[in-house]
Every structure is written in structure tokens, then in C-alpha cells.
Amino acid sequence: MADPLLRVDKLVRRFGGITATDNLSMDVMPGELHAIIGPNGAGKTTLISQLTGQLMPNSGSIHFGGRDVTGLPSYKRSRLGLARSFQITSLLKDFSAIDNVALAAQAHDGHSFRFWGNARKERHLRDAARAALERVGLGKRADIVVSQLSHGEQRELELAVALATRPQLLLLDEPMAGLGVTESARMVALLKELRKEVTIVLVEHDMEAVFALADRITVLVYGRVIACDVPDAIRKHEEVKRAYLGDQHAVTRHD
């Protein structure tokens, strides 16, 4: 078996008396779409934040591409090819859509201590940004200020920003959150395309989407991994059913 792209080993993170990440280990293989599910408060976002470096673990380690990144700040992890989208949309609201994406491309195109030339006229940055926007279907909305975009468009823009950093690993924190039915379907179609190019870790509540997309699923409960397997096995997993899927059977039986 190939080496994992991301290896999380015995990760622990406490907030006061609560252990949000409890001795958590998991591997993400290159090329896979690895979903993380779990009930509210299972520590999914806490985990993602530790993977990207916004939050430091109390103990344990994170290896990315064979390199120990446990102590690296988020901007350095981003340079290594780790990108995230935020659960609560986190964009530069007073910037246009294309500016948001172009800045992400700029971050990975040498340093930005350039004080004179007009950055908005740098062709290769604009082209890269436009390509990423086209990719997520926002090509026509490039010049709109983010605060004027719909919620669904902002979710797509989150994805375009992450893509523009040309990541090896994409950490998506509930990309479907708050989307309507058609928007969700568009997002699923988009993720199906993207997974061909980039390894994806997907945190998502929409079970239908998760089971349709994932190669493997890790189930978190109270910060612990209770199961990690292919979707069919997860569906049949007794402990998972008890802990989590109980009230969602109607959804998972769909397909």
C-alpha cells in the first residue's frame, strides 16, 4: 500500500474539561475522498482546524506528505499544499470574487513584497483566478463583491479560493451547509469532478452526499474514531447505527 498523504497520530485537544479530540488517529490515502461524519459536537471542525494549523493539538502528531507539520502555522501548511474551506463562509467580504481567488493564487506565486505594480493587472494571477472561478461555475460573477453574492455562490467561491492555492489535499468543512436542493446537487457534481484531481477530506452532514461521494468514511463520536471503512461497511456498522445513524435511516436507505 502507498504511503498516506495525511497521517494523524494519537491527536488530543482539550478545551477545559472537554476533550474535543480524543486520541484520534486516521490516515488519508493519496487520491481518495475521505469523509468524516459524526453528530453535532463530535469535534469535526476542531479536527479540521488542527489539520490546517489554526488550532494546535495538546499532543499527538500530524504528518503531511511524509513531513511532520504538527507545529507549523497555517500559512506554512498552505504553502505545502493543504487547503481548507470554512464551514462558516470566511471570505474577504469587501473584495470582488475574482480578487478573493487571485489573492489565493498570489499567495502561492512568490512573495508579495511588491509595492509598485498593479496586482490586478498581473495576467497570470487573473487568469488562474478566472480558471478557478469557471471551475466552480462562477465565471460570470467574477467582478461581483462577495457581500453581494448569494449564500450558495459564496460556498462555491470558498471552493474556488481553495483550488487556486493548487492544493494536494483539500479539507472541506461542510461545503453543503445551508445550500438548497439544486445548489447541493451542483456541489456534489462539482466534488465528483474535483476528486479526480485532488485528494479530499470532506466533513459533511448531508448523508446522501457523503455516501454518494466517499471512498472511505471515518465516524467521529465525542472526539473518538468509532469506525473507519468503506461506505457499505459503515452503513452496516452496529455501533455507528446506534451512535449516529439512528434517526437518519430514512436518508441512508435512499440509494
Binding site: Q54, P73, L92, F95, L103, A107, R114, G117, A119, E122
Partner: protein, 316 residues
């Protein structure tokens, strides 16, 4: 941004620029020397306010100690003059370098904090500079230091000539504004503005936010140091009072009044603030009682300041 149509705010900015350029002519024709003196000071403080706007408006860094650089630039000129170094070619570079170094130290320490703490630390550093200057008994201490001879530029320009000095100040203002305009639209400027908008996001896409903020902070301090060197030449005098925290407050008021994050806003703000101060103080010594509520109205009802108001008017 790419509207070729002349908006109200650009029109006003252009008109004000033209007026500033033609002011010495008016002064000469009418024999009104006072207005030239007054506007020399306004132009200098507009440059200081513009530099503050770079960090405050574009960078989101609420520095409450920006007047410190006025003092540092001024004292560099004053002290060197007192020690016999009259050449502007020595005085001015020293003023800029010392301002930059001070900004580097203040920035490196204060940028670890955010919000109110940042405001308080920048204020504390400026007050420290104020008390140090007060303690410089060799250079006048509390009473300040008279600059007996203005900076000497080897005959290139005579700073003691009112008109020449005014145009030098105006050139510095326009140069400073042009520099800020280039910076704001550059890669660097976009990063700084991005960090103001959403620091976490900027870190997540790969920017070391504080490094960019620090460099921006130093640039602003350096530009303000230039304004300080001009100011000392203008008043032929420099004293700790230039650095007092109320002066930092005045600069902030000019920026907010004119419009934070608008290139020309600080210039409008400086003109309106200082002209109002002059007019109101002729009526009453309690002019601040009128200025205060006026500022309150601007902050409450015209966020974006005067330039913001003009922008909205032109959009109808």
C-alpha cells in the same frame, strides 16, 4: 474602480488639488500671506494623515500614536541643526531612518496584539517618546527646541522662501499620495487590505499576515517622519507637544472625517479640520464644543467620511 465617469469625489479631489497648486498665486495677488502659512501647515499635516490612513484605513491598524513620528522627524532636523549639521541631505534621511526604526520597534511589539490593546500600546509608545523628548534638557526639554536655520539643500531650493517651501510641502504630499496609491493597488497592498478584511482567511491561503502588517506600519511611520521634518522647518521649532496624544487624536480625526481607506480622504479631512479649527477659534475659545458634535455626526451618519458622502451622492 474602472468607472471612467467622473464621480463627485474624484471631481472634488481634482478641484482641491488645483486649488492647492494655485494657492500661492492667490496669496501673491491678494497679499494674503496668512492663508499661505496656514495652508503650508495643512498640507504637511495632510501628509501625516495620509500616512496614518495607510495603516488605519487600508490596514485596519488603529494606531493611536502616530504623532510620535511627527516629533521624531522634527527632532531629527532640530537636533542635527543644533549640532551644526544644517544640510537637508543629512537631516532628512536621518529623520526618515529614525522614524522607520521607531516604527519597526513599535510595530514588532504592538502587532502581536489586536483591537484595544493595539491602540493602547501604540499610545504608550508615543507617550514614551513624548516624555523622552521632555527630558532632553540639552535640546530644550519641555520648552522645545528652536530651529534657527531651515534645512539647507545646497541652493537647490530655499526653504526660507514661503512659496518655495509651500511647493516643496505640496510636492511631498502629492508624492506621498502617489506612493500610497501605488502601494494600495500592488500585491503588497492587496495583502494588507485582505488581512484587514479577514486575517484568518489570509493565513489559511498562505500569507504570513503580521509580516505584511509590520512592513506597512514601517512605511506609514517613515512617511509621517517626512511630515515631521517639514513641520519643524515650517514652525522653526519643535517641542514635545507635537507628540502629545491629543495630536495623534487630531490625526485620527482628520482621517475619519475625510474618509478612512479613501486615498484623498485624509487631505479633505485635514483641510476641513484645520480650517474649522481656525474659523471656530475666532468666535470662541470653546471651539472644541462645536467640533466634537460635528465629528459625532460624521461618525454616526456618514461612515466613510466626507469622501464616502460624496461617493454616495454621485451614485444618487
Amino acid at each position: 474602480m474602472k468607472m471612467p465617469k467622473l464621480s463627485a469625489s474624484t471631481a472634488v479631489a481634482a478641484a482641491v488639488c488645483a486649488a492647492l497648486v494655485l494657492l500661492p498665486v492667490y496669496s501673491a495677488v491678494t497679499g494674503n500671506i496668512f492663508i499661505l502659512t496656514m495652508f503650508t501647515r495643512i498640507v504637511i499635516l495632510a501628509l501625516a494623515a495620509a500616512s496614518l490612513n495607510l495603516i488605519m484605513g487600508y490596514g485596519g491598524m488603529m494606531s493611536f500614536g502616530h504623532a510620535a513620528y511627527l516629533g521624531i522627524g522634527g527632532y531629527a532636523v532640530g537636533i542635527l541643526a543644533a549640532e551644526g549639521f544644517g544640510s537637508g541631505f543629512i537631516q532628512w534621511p536621518v529623520a526618515l531612518v529614525v522614524s522607520a526604526l521607531f516604527a519597526l520597534v513599535v510595530g514588532a511589539l504592538s502587532l502581536r496584539t489586536r483591537g484595544v490593546y493595539f491602540i493602547m500600546i501604540t499610545l504608550a509608545f508615543a507617550q514614551m517618546a513624548y516624555y523622552i523628548a521632555s527630558a532632553l534638557s540639552r535640546y530644550g526639554g519641555d520648552d522645545g527646541l528652536t530651529v534657527y536655520k531651515r534645512s539647507d539643500f545646497a541652493g537647490l531650493i530655499n526653504l526660507s522662501n514661503r512659496t518655495q517651501f509651500y511647493y516643496l510641502c505640496l510636492a511631498c504630499l502629492f508624492g506621498g499620495l502617489y506612493l500610497i496609491w501605488r502601494i494600495v493597488n500592488s500585491r503588497f497592498g492587496l495583502v494588507v487590505q485582505g488581512v484587514r478584511s479577514n486575517e484568518q482567511r489570509m493565513q489559511a491561503i498562505g500569507f504570513h499576515a503580521n509580516r505584511y502588517r509590520l512592513v506597512c506600519f514601517v512605511i506609514a511611520g517613515t512617511i509621517c517622519g517626512l511630515a515631521g521634518a517639514l513641520l519643524a522647518n515650517n514652525t522653526d521649532f519643535v517641542s514635545p507637544a507635537v507628540m502629545y496624544w491629543t495630536r495623534s487624536g487630531d490625526l485620527m480625526v482628520m482621517v475619519i472625517l475625510g474618509g478612512m481607506g479613501s486615498l484623498f480622504g485624509p487631505v479633505i479631512g485635514a483641510i476641513v479640520f484645520l480650517v474649522l479649527e481656525e474659523l471656530l477659534s475666532q468666535f470662541t475659545e470653546y471651539w472644541a464644543l462645536i467640533m466634537g458634535p460635528l465629528l459625532l455626526l460624521i461618525v454616526l451618519f456618514a461612515r466613510g467620511g466626507i469622501m464616502g458622502l460624496l461617493g454616495r451622492m454621485s451614485r444618487g
